[in-house]
């Protein structure tokens, strides 16, 4: 593990900036605590504020593999933890059957045959036949890894309960084999869009981090880091405009990912400053609903003016 970056919160902020993630101190502190206390971290916030990105950046920073599990309704342990390789098990039993006749042919009686059968060793439920799924893979990474459990709120309550063992003890029980324990506990991120409230038991086991929409200065730094060759004046106008949009009563306020996309789009169009016509043409990059676009369009000039005046 790149322990330098995790020596202090400030070092972590810089480390993350080095891999292109501009973090506020609160984000860095939460991550710092999570690594040092070995607790999973539950990241909440509206779509597009960089929840998933935080996990990706942490993996890059630490040079660890990232194992990602997307949650959805109906996700169960055979897709999340492990599955038996049925086909191979089937072949195994067939081979076993073929060999058995030869092995047992000279057995004196039934008792001896059974004795030998027990002596042959039971492979049927054993590691080679285990098909590891994301959680199991994460537990078996000997040098540790970053495990991202994305959109946990989309999964069922039953699955949430099933996760508790993995999250608190970093181990999983396979009934046929016993308990599989992680050598190096993975760094676990869970993300949630608040589709539903998560259970208290799960929340209790995690550190909690809520990522709000950023302030203008932070957002400018994020844009500058993500879109390297952007002019400072354009960044200023663009962020000011998006910040003004967030004050409005929209169905879906633009979040950071939209700001960054917009900045990239404007660079593609060789814009070096914002004007009303340009904004109208590219409004569909930041607003995702027709009603929102219709509502904003007439006010574009005015919003641009407020964007200019904001510090």
């Amino acid at each position: 593990m790149d322990s330098d970056s995790f020596a202090s919160v400030d070092a972590l902020v810089q480390g993350l900036a080095g891999v292109g993630y501009i973090a506020s101190r609160r984000i860095a502190t939460a991550l710092y605590m999570s690594v040092h206390l070995q607790k999973p971290i539950l990241v909440e916030g509206v779509a597009g504020v960089g929840k998933t990105e935080l996990a990706l950046s942490t993996a890059t920073l630490l040079g660890l593999p990232l194992i990602r599990m997307q949650c959805y309704e109906g996700l169960d342990e055979s897709k999340a933890l492990y599955e038996w390789k049925y086909g191979k098990q089937l072949l195994y039993t067939q081979i076993l059957k073929d060999r058995m006749g030869a092995e047992l042919a000279d057995a004196a009686g039934m008792d001896e045959a059974m004795e030998r059968l027990h002596g042959m060793g039971d492979m049927f439920f054993s590691e080679p036949f285990l098909e590891p799924r994301p959680l199991m893979k994460a537990l078996r990474e000997d040098d540790g890894c970053v495990l991202l459990i994305d959109e946990i709120d989309k999964s069922d309550e039953a699955f949430e309960a099933f996760l508790l063992e993995v999250l608190s003890a970093y181990q999983a029980s396979v009934p046929e084999l016993g308990v599989i324990k992680a050598k190096t506990p993975p760094i676990v991120f869970l993300t949630s869009n608040n589709v539903r409230d998560l259970g208290d038991a799960l929340k209790r086991r995690c550190l909690h981090l809520h990522i709000p929409l950023p302030e203008a200065s932070l957002e400018r730094r994020i844009v500058a880091s993500r879109v390297p060759n952007i002019e400072e004046r354009l960044t200023h106008q663009l962020v000011g405009f998006v910040q003004a949009l967030r004050q409005m009563d929209l169905r879906k306020s633009p979040s950071i990912s939209e700001t960054v996309d917009w900045a990239r789009a404007l660079i593609l169009m060789h814009a070096d400053s914002l004007d009303a016509a340009m904004v109208r043409d590219t409004l569909n990059v930041i607003l995702k609903y027709e009603q929102d676009i219709q509502m904003v369009e007439p006010q574009v000039s005015e919003l641009l003016r407020t964007a200019q005046t904001t510090p």
Partner: protein
């Protein structure tokens, strides 16, 4: 410091941030890791370990700032000598007064003007006086007095009177400075206790009010107190969210014993036709379908607001709900409930149709003529009203039709059962056509009944 963390966690709990023992252990570990030196760091680290939702983060921030606020004490320096006058005589020293006085810690602190030492002394005294155990605002003055006693203010008063008796001007000067210092200490103690009250007690007062409100009969004379209205609506919203969480998701349930042949065969193809995975048929659990009919006439005027609030929260919880309101005639109000916030929606409905003469028969007839097709065997019908029909024909025949066509009929009546067949109430005549009829006039009852309704009387 251990002690301070425990106090802080208590303050958090008082501020409605749920902190479990395990989480407080986490918090202690976090503090052990980062120390107390950097306040912002401490705040962020504790926030990550203790506050577990967006609301809680906001409440945590408030409690933290309040708890760790330590404004420096302001000691008045001795007044400058009056202009043109001669320099004041040198002050007497504590040792001149008495041996006891020389030993008084507080007196020394005051004379030295050492605010850090004073705040430490106050902190110690507060622990001894158990100021943080404050629960009610009426305890404030008593606790302030206890705090001052613990700090040794009585001693100071003794020293002052002794100093005044000393010979020469010096004694008086000393007494004046001690007096001024004592006043500052007293004021600080008062502020300290006030802050402790804000931290530990103000929220519990609010919780108490919420609890009382939840049990208050909402059809009492004059309806709901405007002061309480906001709290109540917040309560209703909380309740609606809780219920929505539990019931609005669609669930698939495996039906044991019914083989899904098609999917089993498809799955078995990977294994050479051996059906390793047996797939059972699942049942899709339907979201509840509800028709709610709400009486907003004159006779339920006091309760109308409450009933509509209920209707509103139900509308938020249940996706497939049709809402109707009536006094004399019946109108669908779904659109109004969807478009407006709770206050506005209630006002709109009342403006449209509220407070007219009740006629249950007429309203039922409207329903039968226009909306009867909405009823099927999956529908639960909920009536909200007092069944006081001004002696008009109650149209029991329509009620029977509704009863026969729907899955269940539930009647929630704001009046207690003993009133149900008095005066113009036809409740008892409607009763045979209801699967469930209950009194419902407090928020507590309301929540319990909605739970019942969702659990038993809607298909699942």
């Amino acid at each position: 410091m251990q002690h301070q963390m425990e106090d802080f966690i208590r303050a958090l709990r008082a501020a409605d941030v749920k902190v479990s023992p395990a989480e407080s252990i986490d918090a202690h570990e976090a503090v052990a890791r980062i120390g107390y030196a950097d306040r912002e760091l401490l705040k962020d680290a504790l926030c990550a370990t203790l506050a577990k939702s967006e609301d809680e983060v906001a409440r945590f921030d408030r409690a933290f700032d309040n708890f760790f606020a330590r404004d420096p004490f302001d000691f008045a320096t001795p007044p400058p000598p009056p202009e043109g006058g001669e320099a004041p005589p040198p002050e007497a020293r504590l040792e001149d007064v008495s041996e006891e006085a020389a030993g008084s810690e507080l007196a020394q602190i005051i004379l030295a003007g050492d605010s850090t030492a004073l705040s430490q002394a106050m902190e110690r005294a507060a622990q001894a006086a158990q100021v943080s155990e404050i629960r009610l605002s009426t305890q404030k003055s008593r606790l302030t007095r206890r705090l001052l006693d613990e700090m040794g203010v009585a001693e100071i008063e003794k020293i002052i009177s002794q100093a005044r008796r000393l010979e020469g001007e010096g004694g008086n000067a000393l007494a004046d400075r001690l007096e001024a210092g004592r006043k500052i200490v007293a004021a600080e103690a008062q502020r300290y206790v006030q802050r402790q009250h804000d931290l530990y007690a103000s929220e519990s007062g609010r919780q108490l009010r919420e609890e009382l409100l939840a049990r208050k009969a909402l059809n009492a004379e004059g309806g709901i107190d405007p002061v309480d209205l906001q709290v109540m609506q917040a309560l209703v919203r909380k309740m609606a969210k809780r219920l929505a969480d539990r019931y609005s998701r669609r669930r698939n349930r495996a039906r044991r014993g019914h083989l899904d042949v098609r999917r089993t065969l498809r799955q078995s193809m990977a294994y050479g036709g051996v059906p390793f995975n047996v797939v059972w048929k699942t049942e899709r659990v339907d979201k509840p379908k509800i028709i709610a009919i709400c009486d907003v006439s004159k006779s339920v005027a006091a309760a109308a607001q409450f009933l509509l609030t209920f209707l509103y929260s139900l509308n938020e919880v249940v996706d497939r709900m049709d809402a109707y309101a009536f006094s004399g005639r019946m109108i669908p109000v779904n659109q109004i409930l969807d478009e407006h916030g709770v206050d506005k929606a209630i006002l709109e409905v009342l403006k449209l149709i509220g407070f007219q003469q009740t006629d249950y028969g007429r309203a039922l007839q409207d329903f039968a003529e226009n909306h009867l097709d909405k009823l099927d065997r999956h529908t639960t019908v909920i009536f909200l009203g007092d069944a006081r029909s001004n002696y008009a024909d109650p149209r029991l025949d329509i009620m029977r039709t509704i009863h026969e066509r729907s899955r269940s009929v539930i009647w929630l009546n704001p009046e207690p059962e003993s009133y149900w067949n008095q005066g113009d109430s036809v409740m008892n005549r409607y009763l045979p056509f209801c699967h469930l009829a209950k009194t419902c006039n407090t928020l507590d009852q309301l929540e319990r009944i909605i739970e019942d309704v969702l659990r038993q009387y809607v298909p699942h």
